[in-house]
């Protein structure tokens, strides 16, 4: 089962990286972080979190810190939002992705400013909006696929 789970996440990473090739500025690994949080398996989440951070920081051209801070904020928002909504409801994901899109804009803008990096703020704004709308859709697809894994685990 552990092997199957690792294979599933490896396949997800491969597909996410491949999809990022066609959609500029959008993080396809972020919905995976949310799904890993929902499954509440500490070891699995730690592994997924570390691998995703290394991949996104590695292929990113910005100095270190953006993705780490963003994914940490995903954890905080996840636990804050679960007070008000069911974690698997679409409203929860919609609001979570909206909060993450806004935080993505400000994290990049602030860190770029601190590090004297000139970025295209219009592009950043557009990409944050794409991220906001794409995350719930991707989460829905991943969550559906993960149900199969959970069913296999239960059986």
């Amino acid at each position: 089962m552990v092997f199957f789970n690792i294979a599933w996440w490896a396949l997800y990473v491969a597909l996410a990286v491949f999809c990022q090739r066609f959609t500029v500025g959008v993080d396809f690994l972020l919905p995976g972080i949310i799904v890993a949080l929902q499954e509440r398996k500490v070891l699995q989440f730690a592994g997924v979190f570390l691998v995703f951070i290394i991949i996104q920081e590695g292929i990113g051209t910005m100095p270190f810190g953006n993705v780490l801070l963003w994914y940490l904020l995903a954890i905080v928002f996840f636990y804050a939002w679960q007070w008000f909504f069911e974690v698997e409801s679409f409203t929860f994901i919609l609001l979570l992705s909206a909060a993450l899109a806004v935080s993505h804009y400000y994290i990049v803008a602030v860190l770029a400013n601190i590090q004297d990096i000139y970025i295209n703020y219009k592009a950043l704004q557009d990409e944050s909006v794409y991220q906001m709308f794409l995350t719930p859709v991707l989460w829905h697809a991943i969550n559906y696929l993960r149900r199969g894994v959970r069913n296999v685990a239960q059986n």
């Binding site: 990473v13 491969a14 990286v17 491949f18 990022q20 090739r21 500029v24 500025g25 959008v26 993080d27 972020l30 951070i53 290394i54 991949i55 996104q56 920081e57 590695g58 292929i59 990113g60 051209t61 910005m62 270190f64 810190g65 953006n66 993705v67 780490l68 801070l69 963003w70 940490l72 954890i75 905080v76 636990y79 804050a80 679960q82 007070w83 993505h104 990049v108 770029a112 590090q115 004297d116 990096i117 000139y118 970025i119 295209n120 592009a123 950043l124 990409e127 991220q131």
Partner: protein
């Protein structure tokens, strides 16, 4: 989860971030890990999926399209198909050969050896805000940080980050890209800086009395030893009087970046004697482009008094000796 617990988690995560961030700033170890592992995982995935995609497309073309063809025409159509396919392949290969021949025949490659590479992908992920692309060569195969990248038309950029077999290149058009250049006819030197995607380049630090005209070609000067001298970079589009007694020169790059497929990596022959090349990404702090402040008004009387005082002190000291 109650509010206090959430606050504690938030504070702990923030401290965790600060700890990792400062540790990485001090040692750079996380950068090394993420560069080597992250880029390589991405390169492996992109290379593998592209190979599978190509194989699948070929299979589709060769087999699926032929389903339903009448039996008696199979042999003839098959032959015709094969001939056409071979012709198409030959044409594609000829076009590639022409491009590569054009690349190899560039005369400035005599000292700087070149290594060809393919572009795997353009900007990847939500943490990539530079004008960049991913290359299928890394530091084991000729793409070290700072390696110049060219194509048949001219300068493309430099390698920004390098993993073992995959690297990320910074394009000439990025606002952090700076290249030491010189005009081909007037030999006017300056620094060429990018201004973002699809924007003209700016040639800076050229005095107003220099002779440079629209239409003139700009080439690398080779002064910074990061690039070989004489690589064509762009063509002057406009020359205007700017601030700070400098000319405001706009340059159109010669390379059409959107159509890039293969590029050449130039291997620096002086690398072993150079302690360190110039940085690939050059931050542009606001101070550099801020207008010069008005000169300080010098109080001549005060200056004369100070001079007289210092002179008298010196005379007295000499008298005592």
């Amino acid at each position: 989860m109650n509010a206090r617990r959430l606050i504690v988690i938030t504070v702990l995560l923030f401290l965790f971030f600060l700890g990792i961030y400062t540790w990485n700033e001090r040692t750079g170890k996380f950068d090394v890990i993420s560069t080597n592992v992250g880029i390589e995982v991405t390169g492996f995935v992109l290379r593998s999926i592209t190979a599978v995609q190509t194989a699948f497309t070929d299979t589709w073309d060769n087999y699926i399209n032929l389903v339903g063809v009448k039996e008696e025409n199979d042999r003839l159509k098959n032959e015709l198909f094969k001939v056409k396919q071979e012709l198409a392949l030959a044409k594609e290969e000829k076009a590639e050969l022409d491009r590569l021949r054009k690349l190899v025949s560039i005369d400035y490659l005599t000292e700087w050896k070149s290594v060809g590479t393919r572009i795997l992908a353009w900007r990847l992920g939500a943490n990539d805000f530079f004008e960049s692309f991913v290359l299928s060569k890394g530091f084991f195969s000729g793409a070290k940080v700072g390696t110049p990248i060219i194509n048949a038309d001219g300068l493309v950029g430099r390698v920004l980050k390098a993993g073992p077999y995959t690297s990320i290149a910074l394009l000439l058009t990025d606002s952090g890209s700076s290249v030491s250049v010189i005009s081909e006819k007037g030999r006017v030197s300056g620094i060429l800086q990018g201004n973002g995607h699809n924007q003209l380049l700016s040639m800076r630090f050229v005095k107003q009395n220099e002779e440079i005209k629209p239409g003139e070609r700009i080439i690398t000067s080779g002064l910074d030893l990061s690039f070989p001298k004489g690589i064509p970079v762009g063509e002057v589009v406009s020359v205007e009087y700017g601030s700070n007694s400098m000319l405001d020169i706009q340059v159109k790059p010669l390379v059409v970046f959107d159509k890039l497929e293969e590029v050449l990596l130039l291997q620096n022959p002086f690398e072993h004697i150079l302690p360190e090349g110039s940085p690939v990404y050059s931050p542009r702090p606001n101070q550099i482009f801020a207008p010069i402040q008005a000169p300080l008004i010098v109080d001549r009387d005060e200056e004369n008094k100070n001079f007289a005082k210092a002179f008298n002190e010196q005379v007295n000291a000499d008298g005592e000796n």
